[in-house]
């Protein structure tokens, strides 16, 4: 007998939703590149000017150029970190909001299904993943509703009409089989 506990370790797959994970990574990369470009442009302008100014001044008490531009550079670096982090936080919070709104609608639809509402569309907003997921939830609810309606119609027919005994028996067994198909 195969020992399930001795099977080789299966590698976890982390990259599952390219549009969700990949596009978020891309958004952060664009943000970092944008921050770096602005930083480069500002430092090129200000640091270049400062270095030219020092060379023109003719007064060189420092041991290296860094001593003269340390403060200027430190402020630019701090601004780069703060700017990129704040914008990154905004991107992340937007993603969290989109996730909560999108998946939250699917959760609400499933909770409403417990009460019997299987037809109100999920209408998950936001990212494509959540819209697609909402459609899948709706498809599952729709399939269940169709089956339940078929069962109801058949039950109503058998309860009110009086088909011959043999036919009644066949349809009665068929109905039981149909009921077994609910949430298999």
């Amino acid at each position: 007998m195969k020992n399930l506990y001795r099977q080789p370790f299966l590698r976890k797959i982390y990259y599952l939703e390219p549009r969700y994970q990949g596009e978020t990574a891309l958004a952060f990369a664009v943000l970092i590149a944008l921050g770096g470009t602005v930083f480069g442009w500002l430092v090129d302008r200000d640091l270049g000017e400062a270095l030219r100014e020092i060379s023109r001044s003719g007064h060189y008490p420092m041991n290296n150029a860094y001593e003269s531009v340390r403060e200027l550079l430190a402020w630019r670096l701090a601004a780069l970190f703060a700017g990129v982090f704040l914008a990154g936080t905004a991107i992340f919070l937007f993603l969290v909001r989109a996730t909560i709104r999108g998946v939250g609608r699917a959760v609400d639809a499933l909770r409403a299904s417990v009460e019997g509402d299987l037809s109100t569309p999920t209408r998950a907003p936001g990212l494509v993943e959540f819209v697609r997921f909402g459609d899948q939830v709706d498809a599952a609810r729709g399939k269940t509703l169709t089956l339940l309606q078929e069962i109801r119609e058949e039950a109503a027919f058998l309860a009110s009409e009086y088909p011959p005994q043999e036919e009644f028996r066949v349809r009665w067994d068929g109905l039981k089989q149909k009921i077994r198909e609910v949430a298999p």
Binding site: Y14, Y15, L16, Y20, Q21, T24, A25, F28, A29, I32, G36, F39, D44, G48, L51, R52, I54, S55, Y60, N63, A65, Y66, L73, L77, L80, F85, G88, T89, F92, L95, T99, I100, V103, G104, V107, L110, R111, V114, E115, G116, Q136, V137, A139, A140, K143, T144, L145, L148, I151, R152, A155, L158, A159, F168, W172, L175, K176, R180, V182, A183
Partner: protein
């Protein structure tokens, strides 16, 4: 927050992601600082004219130096952030993917198992809502079948009682099903 239940995404997860993001950006900025520090902190040696030319050359070659250092920063910070997005957001994408597979199976008529996510996964209320729905359907299914089987048992008596019980069971099932719309 999902209405009336646990949050879809934990506060701890959000804080964890933001801290990692801050660390990534800080490491990138630190690397950028290190490169610029290395370039700018070369000692100014020689005569007065040498220092003058050293400053002038530094100003002249600042743009390529900055371009290379910013590029290194972008690659480092973007690479580590991309890894964070793939690994960190897997805790959201994973449950979503699992639910998609489950729903596909449900639509194909495969037996549906109780959904449970891994430790640390987000979107817990989604699994609870799905389990709640399927659980209710199964309870109802069992009740309807039990009611029909009870009517079947009464068929051992006489034909009239049998038919009456069956029709009573069917009316009850129909009434219960009328709430689904």
């Amino acid at each position: 927050m999902s209405r009336g239940g646990a949050p879809l995404m934990d506060r701890a997860f959000k804080a964890w992601f933001l801290v990692r993001l801050a660390i990534n950006f800080a490491v990138g900025v630190a690397a950028l600082h290190l490169i610029l520090h290395f370039v700018l902190s070369r000692p100014l040696t020689g005569e007065y004219a040498d220092v003058f030319y050293a400053f002038r050359d530094l100003a002249r070659y600042l743009r390529p130096i900055l371009t290379a250092s910013v590029l290194a920063y972008v690659l480092l910070a973007s690479g580590s952030t991309a890894a964070l997005c793939v690994y960190g957001l897997h805790k959201v994408a994973g449950p979503l993917y699992r639910m998609e597979l489950l729903l596909e199976g449900y639509l194909e008529g495969n037996p549906t198992r109780h959904v449970s996510f891994r430790h640390g996964d987000q979107l817990g209320p989604l699994a609870e809502a799905f389990n709640g729905w399927v659980g209710t359907l199964r309870q109802n299914r069992q009740r309807w079948l039990s009611r029909m089987e009870e009517a079947d048992r009464l068929c051992l008596q006489d034909e009239t009682t049998c038919r009456a019980e069956m029709q009573k069971a069917l009316r009850e099932i129909e009434a219960e099903l009328s709430r689904y719309r």
